[in-house]
Every structure is written in structure tokens, then in C-alpha cells.
């Protein structure tokens, strides 16, 4: 069977899942402008906006030197950073989804791509709403690559990166959406994102596995090694965004780049990244997409 025929079959095999997910998306269709009442102001030093155990300095040397008020400030600015990295991730995701909408070979999932795109835009409205009202949108240091690859490789990498990004984010959303210590606004934003992303995660896993099974037999060893190296480095680049010197500067910490380096290398944080990534790395290893953990990220 040719690779094109395999790819066609793989996409067609997703049509049932895509139809079910589309139905669920229609049922929970949301208006982001009425779903939430924004408080007049947020007080970073009185309320928790992120779970302390998920903060980038938790379990590190700098964490021990912070008083309770400063820890709350850190949680607030890291919440804005978390929402910002979601905004940047979803911008790239929306570009990629829009580019693939109604493409001939993806027609079987076009309906669901519409929902995917619509829901990502709505998530960014929530994230942007928080950042622009109470904090700021932090910049990303991830820049678009210029390397040209064949279309099947680009498709696979696009959906695999989307899945990795969303799986990591979802662990934070899941935990923070149910953390009773958090301000109701933070709980809402996290819980709402988790609820919607659970559909994207099902779709993402099925699609990534299907694309790999259909395309990998045609890729030579060098291509497969390049793809694996790329995805391993994507874990590093994604996780690096959680250790943002701009946040540490806003909290008022000295030597923000030094703090970022100490936090990135701290054993407790390395273990945290490995734990949060485990579900995703296990999937990638089980499907044969990766042969080992992306150790540089941990």
C-alpha cells in the first residue's frame, strides 16, 4: 500500500472520533464574553493564583528565602506567564489548524478542525483577558523555524508538538482547576481549559499515532532520527518557558537569569518536569515515536 493510501485510511479511521468530539463541542459551545464575570482587581499578595507546588521555584534554594507574601506574588506572575505561554502556543496552533482546514486529504476531520480552532481562540480570550486586565502578556522566546521539510513530516511534527504542549499544560489545568486554595478566577480559567482540552487530547493522540503509523515506514533512518531529536528538543523549549526571568524580575528577585538557571537545574524541578511529562512521554515511547525519555528536559 502506498504512503498516500495509508495516510488516507488513517485519517478516515478518525472520522468517527472526530464526529463524536464535534457533537460534544456543539453541546458545550461557549460564549467567552459571558461565561465569566471579571473582578475589578486582583490582589497578588493576598490570594493564590497558582498552586504553590507547581511554581517554578518550589523545592529550590530561592524558594526557601521567600516569605509567604512573595510566594503569592510569584504565583500571581507565574499564572500570567502560564496564560501567556498558552496564548503563544495557541497562536501557532491556530495558524497551523487554519492552514490545514479543508485540505483535501484532511476533509474527513474538517468539521472537528473548525471546533478545535474555535475553542483555541476562545481559550486565548480568557488567557488574554486575565493578562491584560491584571498583569501583562509575557513575551515568548520561541521563534518560528525556517527549515523546510516534506509535508507529511511537517504535518506529523505539527500535531505531535500540539499534543506535547497540550498534555503538559493540561496537568497544570487539571490540578489548579480543583485547588480550593486558589482564587475562583484562577480555578475557573484552569478548569474551563481542562474541560475543553480533554477533547483535543483524545483527538491529538489518535491523530499523532495514526500519522506515525502511516508515514514512518516511508521515512529513512536519518529522517526518523531528525524527528526524534526535534521532538526531544521541543520538550526542552516548552519547559524552558515555565522558568521565565521576566517573571522573577517582576516579583523583585535579584539576578533573574541566575534564578532561572538555578531553578531549571534544581533536582526537585527536574523531577517535577519528568513527573508532569510522564503520561505524554509514555505515550510517545509506547507508540515507538520516541525510543527514550527526552532527558535534556529533565
Amino acid at each position: 500500500m502506498s504512503s498516500q493510501a495509508r495516510l488516507k485510511d488513517a485519517i478516515a479511521s478518525l472520522s468517527g472520533t472526530a464526529a463524536r468530539l464535534s457533537h460534544l463541542s456543539q453541546r458545550s459551545y461557549q460564549n467567552p464574553y459571558t461565561a465569566l464575570e471579571w473582578p475589578e482587581a486582583a490582589d497578588p499578595e493576598r490570594e493564590w493564583f497558582g498552586s504553590p507546588e507547581l511554581l517554578s521555584l518550589y523545592g529550590t534554594r530561592p524558594w526557601e528565602s521567600l516569605d509567604e507574601r512573595t510566594r503569592r506574588r510569584l504565583a500571581f506572575f507565574e499564572a500570567a506567564n502560564f496564560y501567556s505561554l498558552n496564548i503563544h502556543g495557541e497562536k501557532s496552533l491556530m495558524q497551523g489548524l487554519a492552514a490545514r482546514l479543508y485540505r483535501k486529504d484532511l476533509m474527513d476531520v474538517a468539521d472537528y478542525l473548525h471546533h478545535f480552532l474555535d475553542e483555541e481562540n476562545k481559550h486565548s480570550i480568557f488567557f488574554g483577558g486575565f493578562c491584560t486586565r491584571y498583569a501583562r502578556v509575557y513575551r515568548t522566546r520561541q521563534l518560528a523555524g525556517t527549515q523546510q521539510r516534506p509535508r507529511d513530516v511537517e504535518d506529523f511534527l505539527f500535531f505531535a508538538k500540539t499534543m506535547i504542549f497540550e498534555e503538559i499544560v493540561d496537568r497544570y489545568n487539571w490540578a489548579q482547576g480543583r485547588d480550593a486554595r486558589l482564587h475562583p478566577l484562577a480555578r475557573f480559567i484552569n478548569n474551563n481549559h481542562h474541560f475543553e482540552e480533554s477533547r483535543h487530547l483524545i483527538f491529538g493522540r489518535r491523530l499523532v499515532a495514526a500519522l506515525w503509523d502511516a508515514c514512518e515506514p516511508d521515512w529513512d533512518d536519518a529522517r526518523v532520527a531528525d524527528i526524534r531529536g526535534y521532538l526531544e528538543q521541543f520538550f526542552v523549549a516548552s519547559w524552558r518557558e515555565y522558568y521565565n526571568p521576566d517573571v522573577y524580575a517582576d516579583v523583585g528577585l535579584d539576578d533573574p537569569w541566575g534564578v532561572a538557571e538555578v531553578a531549571w537545574s534544581a533536582p526537585a524541578q527536574r523531577a517535577h518536569r519528568r513527573r508532569v511529562s510522564a503520561k505524554c512521554t509514555n505515550f510517545l515511547i509506547t507508540t515507538g515515536i520516541l525510543t527514550k525519555e527526552p532527558t535534556d528536559a529533565f
Binding site: 513575551r139 515568548t140 522566546r141 520561541q142 521563534l143 518560528a144 523555524g145 525556517t146 527549515q147 531529536g229 526535534y230 528538543q233 521541543f234 526542552v236 523549549a237 524552558r240 518557558e241 526571568p245 521576566d246 537569569w257 541566575g258 532561572a260 538557571e261
Partner: protein, 86 residues
């Protein structure tokens, strides 16, 4: 404040830590880092953090141009405010 020599040495070590198969003698200040695929675009977040740390101030990502990361000479000139000898 780091000297130019220290900055160059730090960048050499950083590149070698990422391009693990590269022999250190093969890396000069004019080795094309991305063209020779020693680094890939996904290394840029880490490289930007490292450059910001070396110079002690943020880099405006909206102001970046293709070619700003060509080789170590370019990095030193563009981001660390040091003139490169011809």
C-alpha cells in the same frame, strides 16, 4: 562585566553542550551554527536566555532578524555590544 574573551568562551562551551557530536576543534567563531545544523530553531529559547544572562539585560524578540544567530562572531557583535576584529 565579562570580557570579550570570556563571552566567546562561554558561547563556545554552550554550543558544544548542545552539539554533542561536534569536535571542539571544529568550532570556530565563524562556524555557521544553524546552516551546519549544529543548532536548530528549537534551541533559540535557551540561546536567548543564555545571551540575556551574558549581557545582563533582555533581548527584544520583536527586533530579531534572520542572520542574527549565524555564528559566534555575529552573536557577540549583535547581542553583547562588542566589535569583531576583521
Amino acid at each position: 562585566m565579562r570580557s570579550e574573551r570570556e563571552i566567546r568562551e562561554a558561547l563556545h562551551s554552550w554550543v558544544l553542550s548542545k552539539a554533542k557530536d561536534l569536535d571542539s576543534s571544529a568550532l570556530t567563531d565563524k562556524t555557521p551554527l544553524f546552516e551546519q545544523r549544529l543548532l536548530r530553531s528549537l534551541h533559540l529559547p535557551e540561546l536567548l536566555l543564555f545571551l540575556e544572562r551574558l549581557r545582563g539585560e533582555p533581548i527584544d524578540v520583536d527586533d530579531l532578524r534572520p542572520g542574527d544567530f549565524r555564528d559566534i562572531d555575529t552573536l557577540v557583535l549583535r547581542f553583547c555590544g562588542v566589535q569583531v576584529s576583521p
